[in-house]
């Protein structure tokens, strides 16, 4: 069963001089097992939207259901949080325990997982993010490097075994190799557990690489929610919204301008590569 957002709107500080509409009338469904990318300009309501999906924020109007649980009810919200994991921006700032083990175990422990299973989950999650358990479990999370901290924080969410994983710019502040590592990690996680992933990112190449569907937000409204082919086939609209295109889409656009008959809707690196090899040979 999916996460369903029905006509949700959200207003910050209603009825004051700071009033601000963050989301207006958004309807969106996150299907089981899919990879949904969310793109939009800074301040377009991406993070606000994400926090509605696990009940951390509640819409001013409209309805959110996770696997049929209505998130306007407190009990349902708590239940939903065990199914929907949310990784905030710079998740390394939420680490607090004395050891990596305890920190990763925090989530599962809150869910009431049995102690024996917690150990299994922690080790599995740490292995998945590439921190060898035997080396890291006893370390203080504050002694890790920046990249390791982020992985440890991700492991903390993975250990909760969510069926939906929401990520708010998980690659922010990482170098290219760190970015690739996170992407690879998400793909492994998905292949292993089949969980749905919703990811906010400014890196169009990463979105192009992973997403089955892309939701485009602009000033709190949902402009598009469609396949990457369709979203990236309208580059003018994206550029107008202050968004970027994947490198491959940019290249094919430039080639088209120069008279090469590149077909529309190419946005993946391997596709443009294949086309060029064929066209040039």
């Amino acid at each position: 069963m999916p996460i369903i957002l029905e006509n949700i709107s959200y207003t910050y500080m209603p009825k004051s001089h700071m009033e601000q509409v963050a989301l207006s009338n958004i309807s969106l469904t996150v299907n089981e097992g899919e990879f949904l990318g969310i793109i939009g300009h800074t301040g377009s309501g991406k993070s606000t939207l994400l926090q509605h999906m696990n009940g951390l924020m509640q819409p001013s109007s409209g309805r959110v259901t996770v696997d049929g649980l209505d998130l306007s009810l407190r009990k349902a919200r708590i239940e939903a949080r065990s199914r929907v994991g949310l990784v905030f921006q710079y998740p390394e700032y939420q680490l607090f325990e004395e050891t990596v083990y305890k920190d990763v175990a925090f989530g599962p422990r809150n869910l009431g997982v049995a102690e024996s299973e917690i150990q299994e989950r922690v080790e599995e999650a740490l292995t998945l993010v590439g921190l060898a358990p035997e080396l890291f479990v006893e370390k203080s999370p504050f002694d890790l490097s920046g990249g390791e901290k982020r992985r440890a924080a991700l492991a903390g969410i993975f250990a909760m075994r969510p069926s939906y994983l929401l990520l708010d710019e998980p690659m922010a502040g990482l170098d290219p190799s760190g970015r690739r590592a996170v992407i690879a990690l998400l793909q492994t996680l998905r292949a292993k557990t089949g969980c749905a992933i919703v990811m906010i990112s400014h890196f169009m190449d990463d979105i192009a690489k992973c997403a089955d569907r892309i939701a485009v937000l602009r000033k709190g409204t949902l402009e598009m929610a469609d396949t990457p082919e369709r979203v990236f086939s309208n580059p003018e609209a994206l550029l107008k919204m202050g968004l970027d295109l994947p490198q491959a889409a940019k290249l094919s656009l430039e080639l088209q301008k120069r008279g090469m008959p590149v077909p529309n809707g190419i946005y993946k690196e391997e596709d443009i590569k294949r086309y060029l090899v064929e066209a040039l040979s």
Partner: protein, 266 residues
Amino acid sequence: MTNITLGQYFPGNSSIHRLDPRTKILLMLLYIVLVFLVRDLWLFLLPLAFVGFVTLLAQIPLLYVLRSLKPLQFLLIFMFIINLFLTAGETVLITIWRIRITKEALEQAVFISSRLVLLVGGTSLMTLTTSPISLTAGLELLLKPFSKLGFPSHELAMMMTIALRFIPTLMEEADKIKKAQLARGADFESGNLIARAKSMIPILVPLFVSAFRRADELAMAMESRCYHGGEGRTRMNVLRFKPADAAAAALLCSLGLAIVLLQAGH
């Protein structure tokens, strides 16, 4: 968490907002003295009128001034009751069982409460109309004469400015961390007092870590811009007394004079 209004500044551009912060601080002190000078209940009408006048000039909704009294409500009720029952008096108004309420006690209770309301309401007008930044600037200048005696007036003002500057940042951060831990299934609402205090650890540890990190970064940034204390430092907005400041001072002084003269007969 967004509704904690520290300093409760109400942005505006009225004549009251534009007064020199030094004037406002000094006049606030004078106002406090004035309220304490009042001995007759009816003379409270004068400071009350003053507060009303300033509120009107400052174009602040009355609700905001009244809101500043809200944290005080229990103290007010407590003081009122204590004075009502414990003040000695002769003219008995009501007798309930063995407790007598006298006219003098009622007067005393009303008097004390009015004084408290006027004190807090009046002084809150200053914080409502002065931004925290100009408030600290005013304080710094007022305390400057004492720096000759070794009082660190500039450092104090700088620390206050920085502290004020980081309150919203840290609140936002606390909110974010809280949400992150909620998303990890943390529970901040159930359990007894100890359990709840313990449940704050996942918020407090990251918050402190980030506060220290920010402090470090800020110190570095200040040093790299050659900050070396207050000596020889000039201001972008130089504070100058204007005619309006004199007018405000004159108004409050005459109010004080009126109170003193009207009570001189007693």
